[in-house]
Structure formats: structure tokens, C-alpha cells
């Protein structure tokens, strides 16, 4: 087993290739016997017309799963679609881990699915290589116009649109009302400075940390920088590393990193309750867990946290026990991050029309009503659901927040790898392994290296 790994893990690609060859080769010639020679003539005359019309086309659809409910919802939708379109069959494949890596490898082997999820951060890799079918060639403009325009921007290239978002989420501040009351606070913090101040007050008065953040997490830091006047980050060529030289970037990065060093490390050295922690400091797996267990009073997280809280912590009630507020504002306004996933169509698919029909069915108003609005996982990507009675109140409230800028999670053609490396450097600085300046220097070099050649 380990020998296989040493082969460079490319074996995986080969495995898919072999599976593919098997699928393709084994398709046609399974039924070798010919017992129906006599009856054949009779049947032929009757079914000839039908078989031509009913030649069933199969579309392979791959997604990850945010939980059992999501999978069940999709299976339900697929059933409904197949009933409406008897000549199209959908093969639903769930890839739970390393989703994009798997899809890329299946491209290498030539067995990529026809329709699959693509996260905004990974979209440029697929679009630049011509892996995605331009949706604008398949969809009517009126269909595209139903979507929030800012969600479409990351998927545009040279005037063509390569994907339509299946749903989206944005960051908001989640706060524990009971802990706020205990600390004598009446409203959520308005600015970043106030956020830190509140966290401190809560820690002093309730003995529980006020705020939980991730170590690293470049995408969580970006709204701080942009709301304080930094330009939106974009890394396309090595020179774009100069984004880190912007004084607003340096200043806010220092503040963000110090949040943990001051709020946790220094406070503990003084023998006080830390006011900023990471989830594992309070024995939680992620922010949602830390917040749901009521170990921390505030977290900044996205809409995916809402169904998790409803499901895992039914006694911790929205409205009574916790509430949401907009992300705190900086000197130059209020900024939030937007996360979205499209249903991409494989550019090399043999059945673009059928694949599009399926995508249209899932993303259209009826599909989103069923999957997103009623399911309550995230926010619908088409307009007009803001006041829908089926919309969860928490999601309705998120949509009502006013922001000066909403940044979609995408920092250029190599967002995925860059995000990982930036976060590692930030985490190292937060842990005190390097200074903020050293971390910035590392991040600049990462940009230069990832984008040169």
C-alpha cells in the first residue's frame, strides 16, 4: 500500500484511467447470447419509433456534501428531474474529500463528470484551462439576469460566463445574547476596535473568552484590511506582491495577528482569562462548534453555521440566545466576504444540452426554492427570495445587512494554493514563531513564486 504512495500518488490518476478504460471498453458487448432471433422481427417493427426518441442519455453529476440532508435533497431533486425528463438519467456521485483535486485528476484521466461543483477560489484554474463549458452559450440572458450580478463576476472571462452559482454565503457576526447580558453589553460591536474591546469586557465579566478566530485564515482577515482602506487583493503576476506593502494592509495585519497574541498569549502570561482564542483552545473543532457549545461569545462566520447550530444545538435558540449582526466596520466602511460555489459543466461533455437542462432545473427558481430556501443551508443565488415566507429568519436577516463592499472569495488565478500558504504564514506569526514583518515577507515571496513562469 505504501509503495503505491511513493510512486508519486500519480497512481491515483492511473487508477482512474484504468477504471475509465474499463467503463468505456466494457460498455457495449456484455450481452453475447442471441436467443431472441425468432421474436426479434416482431418487436422491431413496434418499438422502432420509440427507441429513436427514447435513447437515454446519462449525465454524471459530482458534488461534495455538507451533510446527509444535502445529499437527500439532491437525490429528491434528481428523481423529480428524471420524471420530467425521461430521456435523461442523472448519476449522482458524492466526493467527500479533496473535491477539486479529485476532479482535476479525473480530467487527467479523461473521465471528468459532466456537471460538478466548483468553488469560486478554484474557478480560475478550471476556466483558464478551458475545462468549463461557457454557460452563456447555453443559457438565455433572461435566465442569467435572475442572479445577483456580483456573484457572477468571478466566473466571467473575455465576455463569457462560465458558471452559475448554486447558492452563496457571507460572513456575519454571531453573538451570544446571554453572555452579552451578563457582561452588561446591550448591542453588538460596530467597529473592529469595539470588537476587541467587547471581547475583553466579556472575558473579564463572564470568565469566558469573548471572541474565537482561526489561526491564519487569510480570507477572514481580508474584510478587516479592505474596510480599513486597503484595495481588494488580487494576485495575477509576481509584481502583485506589492499589495502587502500598502500601509493599510500592514497595519491591519499587525492588528489581526496581535489580536491572538495579545488576547490569548499575553493574557495567559498575566494569569487572566484570554479574550481571543482559537476553537481548539476551548476544545472545539471549528468556530461553529465553539459558539454552539457557548464557550465563546462571538465568532465571525458564514451562513453554513446556521443549519449546523439548528441541528446540533436545538436548545440554543436563535433570537433568544443568539443573534447575528453585520461584520464590524473599519475606517472606510463595512466589508464582508462572500463564498459561492457554481455548478460547472465540463467543456468536453458529450451532452452539453442535457447537462444544461439539469443545471437549469437545479438553479432555476423552483430548484432553488426547494434546495436552498426550504433546506436552509445557505442563501439563494437568484434574486426575489428576500421576502419568501419559507426563507429561514436567520438567512433573511443576513440578506438585510447593508455592506459597502462584498468581496467574493477569489484572489486571482491561484487563489486556492495562495490562501493556504498565506494562512500558514499568518498562523506562524500568531503562534509567535515569526514576526509580522517576517510573515509579510514570506507572503510576498509566496506570491512571487507561485505566479512567476
Amino acid at each position: 500500500m505504501k509503495k503505491v504512495l511513493a510512486g508519486g500518488l500519480l497512481v491515483f490518476v492511473l487508477l482512474l484511467a484504468v477504471v475509465a478504460a474499463g467503463c468505456i471498453g466494457g460498455g457495449g458487448q456484455t450481452g453475447t447470447q442471441t436467443p431472441a432471433t425468432v421474436t426479434e422481427t416482431k418487436v422491431k417493427t413496434e418499438t422502432k419509433v420509440e427507441t429513436q426518441v427514447q435513447e437515454k442519455v446519462f449525465v454524471r453529476f459530482a458534488g461534495w456534501s455538507a451533510g446527509e440532508t444535502e445529499m437527500k435533497n439532491y437525490e429528491k431533486m434528481i428523481k423529480a428531474f428524471e420524471e420530467q425528463n425521461p430521456n435523461i438519467g442523472i448519476k449522482y456521485e458524492v466526493i467527500t474529500q479533496m473535491f477539486h483535486e479529485n476532479i482535476l485528476a479525473s480530467y487527467g484521466a479523461g473521465v471528468a463528470p459532466d456537471v460538478f461543483y466548483v468553488d469560486s477560489a478554484w474557478a480560475p484554474i478550471f476556466i483558464d484551462k478551458g475545462a468549463l463549458y461557457p454557460i452563456s452559450d447555453l443559457a438565455d440572458q433572461s435566465f442569467i439576469d435572475q442572479f445577483y450580478p456580483f456573484l457572477l463576476e468571478p466566473f466571467m472571462k473575455d465576455g463569457k460566463l462560465y458558471g452559475l452559482p448554486k447558492d452563496w454565503s457571507m460572513l456575519a457576526l454571531f453573538y451570544n445574547k446571554k453572555l452579552f447580558e451578563q457582561a452588561g453589553l446591550t448591542r453588538p460591536p460596530e467597529t473592529w476596535e469595539e470588537l476587541e474591546e467587547y471581547a475583553k469586557i466579556i472575558a473579564d465579566k463572564t470568565g469566558k473568552p469573548g471572541l474565537a478566530i482561526y489561526l491564519g485564515g487569510f480570507n477572514r482577515y481580508v474584510p478587516v484590511a479592505v474596510s480599513n482602506g486597503a484595495p481588494k487583493p488580487w494576485f495575477e503576476k509576481p509584481e502583485d506582491a506589492s499589495w502587502f506593502d500598502n500601509p493599510a494592509v500592514k497595519e491591519t495585519l499587525t492588528w489581526y495577528i496581535d489580536l491572538y497574541r495579545k488576547g490569548k498569549t499575553e493574557r495567559e502570561n498575566q494569569g487572566l482569562t484570554p479574550y481571543v482564542v482559537q476553537p481548539s483552545d476551548v476544545g472545539a473543532g471549528w468556530l461553529g462548534d465553539a459558539f454552539g457549545q457557548q464557550e465563546v461569545a462571538m465568532v465571525i462566520s458564514g451562513n453554513w453555521m446556521i443549519p449546523f447550530l439548528a441541528d446540533q444545538f436545538p436548545d440554543f435558540k436563535y433570537g433568544e440566545d443568539w443573534d447575528i449582526a453585520p461584520v464590524p466596520a473599519g475606517k472606510e466602511g463595512r466589508v464582508t466576504m462572500v463564498y459561492t460555489v457554481i455548478l460547472g459543466i465540463n467543456a468536453k461533455t458529450e451532452h452539453p444540452q442535457e447537462a444544461w437542462k439539469f443545471v437549469e432545473f437545479l438553479l432555476g427558481p423552483e430548484g432553488q426554492k426547494e434546495l436552498v430556501v426550504k433546506g436552509g443551508q445557505t442563501l439563494p443565488s437568484i434574486k426575489g427570495f428576500e421576502n419568501d415566507p419559507d426563507m429561514w429568519p436567520q438567512h433573511k436577516k443576513t440578506l438585510s445587512f447593508k455592506y459597502d463592499q462584498m468581496i467574493v472569495f477569489l484572489w486571482g488565478p491561484k487563489s486556492g494554493p495562495l490562501e493556504g500558504k498565506f494562512s500558514d504564514a499568518m498562523a506562524a506569526a500568531m503562534r509567535g514563531e515569526m514576526s509580522v514583518d517576517e510573515a509579510i515577507e514570506v507572503m510576498k515571496q509566496v506570491v512571487q513564486e507561485e505566479l512567476s513562469s
Binding site: L5, A6, L9, F126, S280, P417
Partner: protein, 313 residues
């Protein structure tokens, strides 16, 4: 198809060869496809730039150059994030130096205990071997709990060693690699114990009896009879251990994460090959790196076997 094969078998002149080849054919085919073909394809791939979707583009030795530059910069002390291969290599060599000697030694000790005629030794044999039958992923997940700051290991250490401060094993870059090494040693010693046990039981009893007549005690018998007689098996275990340790992936993946955890302390070469191929989408560079790893494993095991591998008897 089956009937035609059986008639072929009936007519075959040398039935044993036909039966043998048939029985091993699946294993051979799998090995050819996933072993040798993958190996040569990786070699071919290491000269190309590719992104899985587009065309493969010949770049000569550029991929190897990237790896060598990484190593040189690492030696000059660049931060770990910029020199992933060097970091992985450094960690994995240290890890191998810790794991292989300890696991070999421990396996011999366990085997010699299991080789005694004590009541209930079957129970100990089974319990030593159990870790080898458990999935390494599950083992790693359980050890994460044990190694947590308020976990069991700290709890025990605090009570055993006076004045011991609980250590955050997994989230501290100074301890992470040792934590991973501990799990590896725990997981593999029992497996190698079985090898040693088999070898020990093959040692003729007369040698021990002669030694006892000459007045050698148990410790001298262990060092002057058991260990020398085990030499071929020790070589085998060390070579297998070296290969396993240098390729370590699963434990680091679970305990440190794909990015190697705090300070990159749990980063390994195998993790780097994975990341290069699937997150940075440079399969050519990943192939070049895997050939470097192959070269390292090949030379170390070759040298070791050449020096110690000659049969004694």
C-alpha cells in the same frame, strides 16, 4: 470463457506452471499496472509541465531544477513555507532516525518476552500485534485525543513526573514530530515483533543449551546468541522500517494536516508530493520529487543491505 480455460488446463503439459501462473496473475497484473507502469509514467511525467486539463508540455530538467533549488535555499536557511521539499526531507530524516532504531529494538525486546514460556503469553502476543491490525488513520485520530493538552498523556505525565507542565503536543512545533514518531513506533513494533518471534523460534535450542552448560546467563545469551542469530531478520526489519518511515504519509496527514501543522513540523516528503500534484497542480514537479524520494530510499536501503545484509551462516 471458464470452460475453454479448463479444457486448456486439461491439455496443458505442465499443469503446475499453468496453475501457478494463473493464481499469481492478478497480483502480477496489478503490480505491473499500479507498480511498474506508474513508476515509469512518473519518470516520463517528471519531464513535463501539465495541469491535467490541457496538453502536456516538455520542459526538460526544469522540474528537477525546482527541487534542487528548493534544497539549496533550504540549506541557506529560508523560512519553511518557501522550501517545502527541504522541510519535508529534514523532518522525515529526523523521524526515521527516531523511529527505526526504537521500533526495531522494541520489537526484539517484545519478541524475546513473547518467546518465554510464561502463562498467558498468547494474550501478550495478541495485544502487541493488535496495533498492526488497526487502520493507521483510526490510530492517529485516537492518539490526537490522547495527545491533547487536557488529554490522557499529559494527565499521566503530570502525576508521574513532579513539576511537569502539560504540553500541547499536537499544536507545538517542538513536539509534533515526536508525537507522530511515538504513534508510529507504537503501531509498528508489534508488527515487527512477529517477524522476530518467528526468527527466534528458528534458533536451534542446542546453542542455548551449550551456552547454559558453559554458564552463560540470560542476558549474555541474549546478546551473544539471540542478537547475532537474528542478524538477517534485523536487516530485513530495518530495511522495511526505513522504507516505511521515509514514505510516511498517513500519520502526518491526520495528525499534522496537509500543510504540516505548526511550523511545518509534521510536513513530510510524501505530503509535499501530494500537495505539489493536487493543490499546486504541478504533477511534473511532484513526479520529480517522488524520484528524489525514490533515490534516497534506494541508496539508503542499498547501502544498509550491502553492509549488513550478507547472510551469516
Amino acid at each position: 470463457m471458464f470452460s475453454s480455460f479448463s479444457s486448456f488446463y486439461e491439455k496443458a503439459r505442465n499443469k503446475e506452471i499453468v496453475a501457478g501462473l494463473t493464481l499469481i496473475s492478478i497480483a502480477v497484473v496489478l503490480n505491473l499496472v499500479f507498480g511498474y507502469f506508474a513508476m515509469f509514467f512518473a519518470f516520463y511525467l517528471s519531464f513535463f509541465k501539465w495541469d491535467y486539463i490541457g496538453e502536456m508540455q516538455f520542459v526538460g530538467l526544469q522540474n528537477f531544477e525546482i527541487v534542487i533549488r528548493d534544497l539549496i535555499r533550504g540549506l541557506h536557511g529560508a523560512p519553511y513555507l518557501l522550501v517545502p521539499f527541504y522541510t519535508g526531507l529534514k523532518n522525515i530524516l529526523l523521524y526515521t532516525l527516531i523511529v527505526v532504531p526504537i521500533q526495531t529494538f522494541l520489537a526484539i525486546v517484545l519478541a524475546s518476552f513473547a518467546n518465554q514460556k510464561i502463562r498467558g503469553q498468547q494474550f501478550f502476543k495478541v495485544s502487541y500485534f493488535l496495533p498492526a491490525t488497526t487502520s493507521s488513520v483510526i490510530v492517529a485520530l485516537i492518539f490526537i485525543w490522547l495527545f491533547m493538552k487536557n488529554g490522557y498523556i499529559n494527565y499521566v505525565l503530570v502525576h508521574v513526573i513532579p513539576g511537569f507542565e502539560p504540553v500541547d503536543w499536537i499544536n507545538n512545533k517542538d513536539y509534533l514530530l515526536f508525537a507522530i514518531a511515538t504513534v508510529a513506533i507504537w503501531g509498528t513494533s508489534g508488527h515487527f515483533m512477529v517477524s522476530f518471534l518467528a526468527a527466534m523460534q528458528a534458533i536451534p535450542r542446542e546453542i542455548y543449551e551449550a551456552a547454559m552448560l558453559d554458564g552463560a546467563g540470560p542476558i549474555r545469551r541474549f546478546f551473544f546468541i539471540t542478537i547475532p542469530m537474528l542478524r538477517p531478520m534485523i536487516t530485513y526489519v530495518v530495511v522495511m522500517g526505513l522504507i516505511g518511515a521515509l514514505q510516511m504519509f498517513d500519520l502526518a496527514w491526520i495528525m499534522a494536516g496537509a500543510n504540516g501543522g505548526p511550523g511545518g513540523a509534521g510536513y513530510t516528503v510524501a505530503l509535499d508530493i501530494y500537495n505539489e500534484a493536487f493543490t499546486r497542480i504541478r504533477p511534473g514537479v511532484a513526479a520529480a520529487k517522488s524520484w528524489f524520494l525514490f533515490a534516497i530510499i534506494f541508496t539508503t536501503t542499498y547501502l544498509f543491505q550491502k553492509k549488513y545484509g550478507r547472510a551469516m551462516r
